[in-house]
Subunit: 394 residues, 2 copies
């Protein structure tokens, strides 16, 4: 068992009336001038942006707005945000949207408290010591960024997607109204659930078999999400199961499912190169890579994959053949991905065969020019990454 720190200070306001609390919460956490940060048209069309701005107005809190965040959020917009916040004297950043908007907000918040280039933080050259407070009104459950310490930013200059994690970036509050997710299209819903499940699977597949509570909670959450996603794909306005997904997305990435274990994150790193290169939906990219990763590494802790098959995927345990049971668990996960409209390989993800040159380029980036590894259950070197991408070609 690993010694651990658990720190999830984000105040969650959850339910149909949650948005009403936005102005008091901004004040409680010290905001006097707010950047309302958002993505595209959906926050405008739904009326949510107007509602939030109206509530800030009523609360006497001045604000400026910056929209235009795209999936795989761009460094250039974050830099624009930093300039805007500096000139406007912003001291609180409110993200209205999903993980991309929250990650962009975190990047702006880091940048506001440093002199140099905020990209240096993501490059690992600079460690931030402070940031402007960030909070969110969540509309897309997936990334878990609303309670997490992570943010991922894409530098268009070279299509490089990098993440940085720091407890100082844990958001102050998160407003979650499941009704705001009723209009999420099926593909986004499924990709979101895939992403949130993967946040816990990246932790679940570990060599640390002795932290029972963490494993038990992870399995309970994974089963809950599997159940909930079919309900909302059938009926998008099913409040009960939209709520499970929304709250599950936070719990699966706020640290709860990582206590006492070594986490892996290889699938995420392999996927970052896919969405960096092809601008695909992150969750879909994860589904395209995971089965190949799983088959490649499963012998590092076979009993863990057996446990996953039996306790999460409801595969009958063939006690005489753990490898067969483990493989059936991976196959069951592939069926689950197909059932919810997710790809299980790169061909299904990008609509054509990936070329060997493209794989080589992804390996180069993922290995930081052959200098870095990824993963911990099995440490993946460049040749391992290449093997997994080839297995995932489809």
């Amino acid at each position: 068992m690993q010694d651990f720190k658990f720190y999830a200070p984000t105040e969650v306001a959850f339910g149909r009336q949650a948005e009403e609390q936005v102005a008091p919460l901004v004040k409680k956490y010290g905001g006097t001038k707010v950047l309302v940060h958002y993505g595209g048209q959906s926050a405008i069309r739904s009326g949510l942006l107007d509602k939030i701005c109206g509530l800030l107005d009523e609360g006497g809190i001045p604000f400026v707005k910056l929209g235009g965040v795209v999936p795989n959020p761009r460094l250039s917009l974050a830099k624009k945000g930093i300039d805007l916040c500096r000139s406007e004297g912003v001291d609180f950043i409110l993200a209205v949207g999903g993980g991309s908007v929250i990650d962009s907000a975190k990047c702006i918040a880091y940048g506001l408290c440093m002199d140099g280039d905020v990209w240096d933080i993501y490059l690992g050259k600079v460690k931030p010591t402070a940031m402007v407070p960030v909070a969110s009104v969540l509309t897309i459950p997936a990334a878990g960024s609303e309670m997490s310490w992570s943010s991922v930013i894409t530098n268009e200059d070279g299509d490089v997607k990098l993440g940085y994690s720091d407890d100082i970036s844990r958001p102050k509050f998160a407003i979650m109204n499941p009704e705001r997710t009723f209009t999420l299209p099926p593909y986004q819903t499924a990709a979101g659930v895939t992403d949130m499940m993967m946040h816990t699977m990246e932790r679940y597949f570990t060599k640390d078999d002795d932290m029972d509570i963490t494993t038990d909670l992870a399995e309970a959450l994974l089963r809950s999400m599997k159940n909930a996603v079919f309900a909302v794909l059938k009926n998008p306005e099913d409040y009960r199961y939209r709520a499970q997904i929304m709250w599950g997305g936070s719990l699966m990435h706020n640290g709860l499912t990582g206590c006492g274990i070594s986490d892996d994150w290889a699938t995420h790193q392999l996927e970052h190169e896919l969405s960096g290169m092809f601008d695909v939906t992150h969750g879909a990219g994860l589904a395209a890579v995971w089965p190949s990763w799983a088959r490649y590494v499963m012998h590092e802790n076979l009993s863990r994959f057996v446990r996953f098959a039996v306790n999460v995927m409801d595969v009958p345990n063939d006690f005489t053949d753990p490898e067969a049971t483990a493989l059936k668990g991976i196959e069951a996960m592939e069926r689950f991905y197909h059932d919810i409209g997710m790809p299980i390989n790169i061909r299904e993800l990008i609509g054509r065969e990936i070329t060997d040159d493209e794989i080589r380029e992804m390996v180069r980036k993922c290995s930081r020019n052959y200098k870095s590894t990824c993963g911990r259950l099995k440490v993946l070197h460049a040749e391992d990454m290449e093997a997994i991408y080839h297995m995932a070609k489809g």
Copy 2:
């Protein structure tokens, strides 16, 4: 589903080396002069108190000490602590011990930020708006006070035990080293596990059947605790399972298992009168009352008791007879209590038959002179309380 707030900001440092972080954590959360608050001899004998004081010394943090906290912590000692802290200029309270010490620390911390009598907070006459920061080095997993918003204090003047809950009282940090619980005697260990399981059972037995994640997580935690307690009763120095119990005690009372549901707390309120009158161990008192409470209220949501029987107590589901299955679940819980050395009625708890006069006195106190009810799954009036106490006589 109920709208909810989730707020668990306490920073947890967990593991064999956790104590080493005490001085940096006190500084991080603004402490410049500390009250080290503790209970009896065990913190001295084990060397923990000396270690913590030494670490504060090394960190250059001045402190004063106040020991003597007893189970069912007394108002008089807390008042002594308030006076001491005022005269010494204390601005941070570090509890070294279990729930009683932490609850006493919270009471002192409330009292330091008000002019009048701190008991008025517990009487509901005054709502506190601030308190001195509190943190803990946990030695007894049970009460969950190290992450919770609750504290319970006994006023010896009239043997009245009252609780008060407020988010401002959530501790800043909790240091948890499972090795520090190796010396906990079997009875204290079992009573602690009973208490922590009850913190989740008080939430689990609800009419809100639609918050699946919360229910799934609660069942996972309850099963984990059932499993872990036998391991540590067999081998008190089993780090793995001492760790499950220590972390489980926090998760089962930090709010996680209450999200989206109406909680009950009748068993706790019925028990408070027992430990107020007979000064018994709180966890043992809960075990003595719960089976009778459960039989009295189970028809308010029978399917919930069936679910508990099947998913937590491993009772085979007799689909044709839900009531029989539910009752078997309660009986299985009684066997579990006996297996770990806990009582299942008041006779076993206090070693003699309780008198009708004593029951009447408990009912009077529990109903606040026949003016209050308790419980939410079934709202209990004075006559219900009396019926349950009589069922629990044994």
